[in-house]
């Protein structure tokens, strides 16, 4: 089937989409957007996190057809000042090791700071509870979020 949607502010069409296919698979395999990572395909790791309209979701758990007519924003599309600031904070805080979890964490952090400019540590932990990292031990990730929040408020 054909799926028509807006991805990162651009009208896109994907053809030959299998109806049971995930939005993640469609973004990566048919639209060439490999920023969102495929690690677990079961909602556990958050590395596929994107915005569907204005909501943070795991794209592996959305059927591609459910995005028909909707707006999707992936990590590639987070190029506004806030998105760039989050990415820079991750680099500067040393929150990236293998980097596989990073795109999902960047999107989740962006979503957190969008609704809460000054999150407490428990708020940050709660907001990122759906994103797993096997490398960093999370401390640097927390530093990155605090740094991004600080800069955004400044």
């Amino acid at each position: 089937m054909r799926v028509t949607l807006t991805v990162n502010d651009e009208a896109r069409v994907a053809d030959d989409v299998w109806p049971g296919e995930s939005l993640l698979s469609m973004l990566r395999e048919r639209l060439g957007l490999t920023g969102s990572k495929n690690a677990c395909e079961q909602g556990e790791c958050g590395s596929c996190s994107i915005y569907l309209d204005d909501t943070l979701v795991c794209s592996c758990l959305v059927a591609a057809g459910q995005a028909e007519g909707h707006r999707v924003r992936t990590v590639e599309g987070l190029t506004d000042g806030d998105g760039d600031a989050v990415k820079a904070a991750f680099v500067e805080a040393g929150a990236v090791q293998c980097g596989f979890c990073t795109p999902g964490l960047v999107v989740s952090t962006h979503a957190l700071l969008d609704r809460d400019a000054d999150p407490t540590d428990p708020d940050i932990r709660e907001a990122l509870a759906g994103n797993l990292c096997r490398c960093t031990g999370y401390e640097k990730i927390l530093d990155a979020v605090r740094l991004a929040a600080e800069r955004r408020r400044a």
Binding site: S22, G43, G46, L61, A63, S108
Partner: protein, 292 residues
Amino acid sequence: MTTTALDTPVFLRPTTLAEALAAKAAHPDAAPITGGTDIMVELNFDVRRPAVLLDLSEVAELRTWERDGDRVRVGAAVTYTRIVHELADELPGLALAARTVGSPQIRNRGTVGGNLGAASPAGDCHPPLLATGADVEVAGVRGTRLVPVAEFFTGVKRTALAADELVTAVLVPRKRGPQQFAKIGTRNAMVIAVCSFALALDTSARTVGTGIGSAGPTPLRAPQAQELAAAELPWESRDDIDVRLATRFGELVAAAARPIDDVRGTAAYRRLALAVLARRCLRWAWQEYRCA
């Protein structure tokens, strides 16, 4: 599951309830998909290959909630995030349970209708729906009926839904007293309950509702515990709760469970943990009543 079905699956996207019900009647084998947080896992891992996927996420009627007398009618496609933000005052037990589901990403998509449709004994909506005496609204082209939630679950992952029916809403009594929900897992986020417990006090009728999750083939109630607490709680004096009453309440809840040993825990551990959860929930709820 035939080869043809595999080759030519269909994705249906109704935008009205009437269309959705007509589609379900025309394709009784269609698998509904709302938030997708259960069924997409099955599709991704090829555990299930439905010939027809019926997307309910665009059906406006299913995405609203409204007050209906002394109840709130929560549409099947209302997400956990919305329950937490919009219904915590009126449906505190359900909101507490919704708060514990998965992660923000899962709560942003997962729905009550999907939780009921999946009918896992571990589903977190089920204990508070049992404790408050909610009804499940079920509809098909033949009409709409209300199924008391205790009768909705007919076995492990089995429900009272007919092949041509969908869950359209849950009708949940508005708060009539303190409510609690507690859940055991290996960490605070992203866990399926090892066991869970919900409690709802009705301080006008002076009755106590219970719901047990993940400790039986279906979610369960603990009728003897309910009767004991209703009869012996000091409703009038609002005195502190008697330790023996709380302990006995916990024991009766544990006795009502029908747990098994599985990867998440043993039956013995579940009973032990349930007794503790039940005791604590009763204490917390009673404290709230005393201070009210």
